[in-house]
Symmetry: C2
Subunit: 284 residues, 2 copies
């Protein structure tokens, strides 16, 4: 039986840390503010928003919501971002993605001020991740994976990590973050040959393909740590990860469940980034 | 005996391509211009400069040289870059690095306009490499490696490439460029465990550590393609790569020599980038 790397204690630890930091900010007269920007009414966005609202309220982070109609133009979306840039009470911004229609999403992302980009969506934030520079914020999901690994004391120095998936939301940024911690990193994807044997050879595997239960027991070996970043629905409408948890869990050393794993920590990391943005704004 | 992946035919092919493109630019009244910025008189810089001058002259690319004294201040160096940014006759800029003293090198690099940054030294150019975006230019050495692989018809799709070295000049950018071509990429470095066996398992190995003859026959296996990016001097003052060429060449399938390999192509790629910058400046 693998160690179950649950998100809950990580979420609790972050909440505890943030509680005192939000308190210190309040003593300086600063109320940490988070702007949410949503276009349209996609169920995924609404679901993430509900979680974010709940978490922010429980921590005492003030929310400022901007909702545009599905069909909003490039100019309208960029104007909304500009409003958030100019709003001194919003220290960070979460924009739900992907944006609908034929919007140039990266142009929108690059409109957001780097210091408010708490989900690492702008080119400047991603450049900082690539270049190991200490400004901006990494994408929350990648940062959540690092939090999980650190919380559970998984050694990274010299570890061989296989990352499956090469997106800018998770695969590429976590590869850079792991490299910075002196892990050896292999980036795999849909065109990788011998994927299962490559995965089996790793100390740590990060699965981030977004394909329901894609990885079965043939992809894993005893003692491995598995981070399952996928949030998918199977044919029966059940929430599941990229890993076939029931089949894989008896084999590996440690594994994150879905739900209740990495995904549950992501919202906490978003809040932590918002608090850090507020701290940086007053020079803490 | 391995196939010897010499730089010369690649250099010749690039020169041929550039000849006709420089001709087309001339017909439009555009003389391709390259600015060189050197601080001090480091022998490495002077050597690279001589090569660049010779190559530019042979192609008909106009050079504009700016030399500052060793000890130039941050402001003076940034002012020089600013002059190059404003000089319409300079389409690209090569600044010799590393900069001496306690200069904030990245701040200097980020002063250069992205469209003139033909060696991928600015954050914007590196972000584009990380994000697979088609603007800016990749670092020349990484681009030279890709040119070599393509010239010699080495298949990249699905290939497993081990990159040793994680610098922003070569290791990280080439990893992204290979990933874009659907290779599976493992990034290794000084803290990698079992480095030799990891290297032996690859289809292609890129050695970019800058340590003279660090990699012997134990690191390689039959059929592999080896790109040796190192330009080092051994204890006897002889130019050599990161690979112990004489010992490794009998084992592998193909290998770049040092000198006469990747390094010799880098200057040609710099010229190709300058020509492309000139073309982009007039909307070709």
């Amino acid at each position: 039986m693998a160690e179950r790397l649950a998100g809950k204690p990580v979420v609790e630890k972050i909440a505890e840390e943030l509680g005192s930091r939000i308190g210190s900010l309040a003593e300086r007269g600063v109320e940490c503010g988070l702007a949410l920007l949503r276009i349209g009414e996609r169920p995924d966005d609404l679901s993430y928003e509900r979680t974010a609202v709940k978490r922010a309220e429980s921590l005492g982070i003030k929310l400022r919501r901007t909702v545009l109609e599905d069909g909003a133009s490039q100019d309208e979306i960029e104007a909304a971002i500009d409003g958030i840039n100019r709003d001194a009470s919003a220290h960070g911004c979460l924009m739900f993605r992907p944006l609908p229609g034929d919007i140039d999403e990266q142009a929108v992302c690059d409109t957001l001020k780097t210091e408010k980009d708490i989900d690492g969506i702008s080119s400047a934030a991603l450049a900082a991740v690539f270049m190991d520079r200490d400004f901006g914020f990494a994408p929350c999901t990648a940062a959540a994976c690092m939090r999980m690994l650190d919380f559970y004391g998984i050694p990274l120095e010299g570890a061989h990590v296989v990352v499956v998936g090469r997106s800018l939301v998770i695969g590429k940024p976590i590869a850079m973050m792991l490299l910075r911690r002196n892990a050896t990193v292999t980036l795999c994807h849909s065109r990788t040959k011998d994927l299962a044997s490559t995965m089996r050879a790793a100390d740590i595997v990060v699965c981030a393909t977004g394909r329901a239960r894609m990885f079965g027991p043939d992809c894993f070996s005893p003692g491995q740590t598995v981070l399952d970043v996928g949030i998918n629905f199977d044919d029966d409408g059940n929430l599941c990860g990229d890993v076939d948890f029931d089949a894989v869990e008896p084999i590996v050393g440690a594994i994150t469940p879905v739900p209740g794993g990495v995904g549950s920590v992501t919202t906490s990391v978003l809040m932590a980034h918002a608090v850090e943005a507020a701290e940086r704004s007053v020079g803490v």
